[in-house]
Symmetry: C2
Subunit: 316 residues, 2 copies
Amino acid sequence: MPQDIDILVSEVGPRDGLQSIKRTMPTEAKLKWIKALAASGLREIEVGSFVSSRLLPQMADCAALVKEANKIEGLTVLALVPNLKGAENAIAAGTRKLTMPISASRAHSLNNIGKTPEEAIEEVRRVCAFRDALPVEQRPDVEVGISTAFGCTFEGKVSEDWVIEMAGLLSKAGADSIGLSDTTGYANPAQIKRMFARLRGEIGAEKMAGAHLHNTRGQGLANVVAALEVDVTTFDSSLGGLGGCPYAPGATGNIVTEDLVFMLEAMGLRTGIDVDALIIAREVLLCGLPNEAIYGNVPEVGLPKGFTYAGNKSAT
Amino acid sequence: MPQDIDILVSEVGPRDGLQSIKRTMPTEAKLKWIKALAASGLREIEVGSFVSSRLLPQMADCAALVKEANKIEGLTVLALVPNLKGAENAIAAGTRKLTMPISASRAHSLNNIGKTPEEAIEEVRRVCAFRDALPVEQRPDVEVGISTAFGCTFEGKVSEDWVIEMAGLLSKAGADSIGLSDTTGYANPAQIKRMFARLRGEIGAEKMAGAHLHNTRGQGLANVVAALEVDVTTFDSSLGGLGGCPYAPGATGNIVTEDLVFMLEAMGLRTGIDVDALIIAREVLLCGLPNEAIYGNVPEVGLPKGFTYAGNKSAT
């Protein structure tokens, strides 16, 4: 965590958002968008995914994006890797932080990647072993997000004990940090408080990554407030809530970066991010993806009159 | 508060929602809607406003609505009254609970009702004095909602000390309960916690009414979570977020009853309200107001698989 901010907002739009859209955004347009995001003050951006370009052609330019985004000063460039092969490619491209999603739900894991959760944990172990065999300066951080941690559209409730047990196993497998993802928009604030407190107890504060929350049932920012109550300091979000939702139009998936930053700053929590610059980044995004549906309340109505950022900077 | 619930959800749609729509919903349609709302388990409904029917023709049938809604067992029927004249009419119609909005912002108060906040407090005193002179069985409760309590579109920041001072003055003027309203969608969770804790300190827990929150900047349910942290137990909300927002399309005003009830029940807090029945009430509403834009995430995507209500009742 940089010293001058209280909360790290990790932007996932270029990966999580774009991978759920059928159209492919041109590489140049993606780079312009990533630069606009970084210019708003975001310190961490997930730029893409090292998956088979046959499966997700939208992500085929990930190596090029990492290479260019690495030139942006002060930015941590993340990329998703589904397995060892992806990790090898990511590291070859110079990725400094890898993120691996591992599903707590057996049905979701099998359906999604054809592996049991235990097999997926083994894959994390292999990635970490590969990483540990590299020269120190080439070793990226490996972060794991436990997906379907709060419920699953196949299984319904997911055992909370199992999610916490998985976090312990992933820590032992070598993951640097482990977070919890509400992949399905099932989480509620009471559960968020309970689970992040247990996660810290299981793996320790240093290894605790953030919360990846969805707004599927309108509860995204409510879950952020609950997570803040138990001292979670990193939140994933997506500019314009990009990515939408697999279920229904109008029901957003990822929480909206613009609304999240407004709320945190209004609460007196420094993010280092400028809301007006995020709104410019929306325009840049829409230049590359004309007419794409994006979301957000603050972009529609603007900041409150007399709004001041946490560091007392006035809004323009 | 009824014994069998933890949180009182007070539905404001028939008043707050309908008064911000230009069309007038026919009285029969309103009554059907109010009955559908009550059938979902809602215990308190604000059915209308005793204002001049010249100013708000949508509210002209308020006396008839109160009379009919009073027949619904277990339901507390609220009506808004702007002044003594409205209170006299409300009491003559048999209203058992009056709600008076008093603005903390001087500019908002003058602009809205042509009175200073001090003059508006005097009006509350007059209403309470009139009420106290009635035979005991005819005396309604008088609740005051301090509007623009968290900021104002004219003035920007509103003095928090003044809001709390007003609450003390209103208590002395005879109000039975006093709540805080985020009329403008300016509130943030840190402010909500601070202000409701101060409100309780000023007027005592018995006189503390609930939170009237808006979702203008996407922060409505986040503010609910913050209010729950300081033991607020009553929340206003509107079915379908009806009423919209004066600023921009798509930016909802009132928090959405369906999403609120889902979140509270998922957290293990009993509301006594059935979400599926609320979704039926949406249909009844739209029968009376065809094609009206209404909001809500849970109605679009449904309850999570395996969802159970706080009292362990399974979702249908």
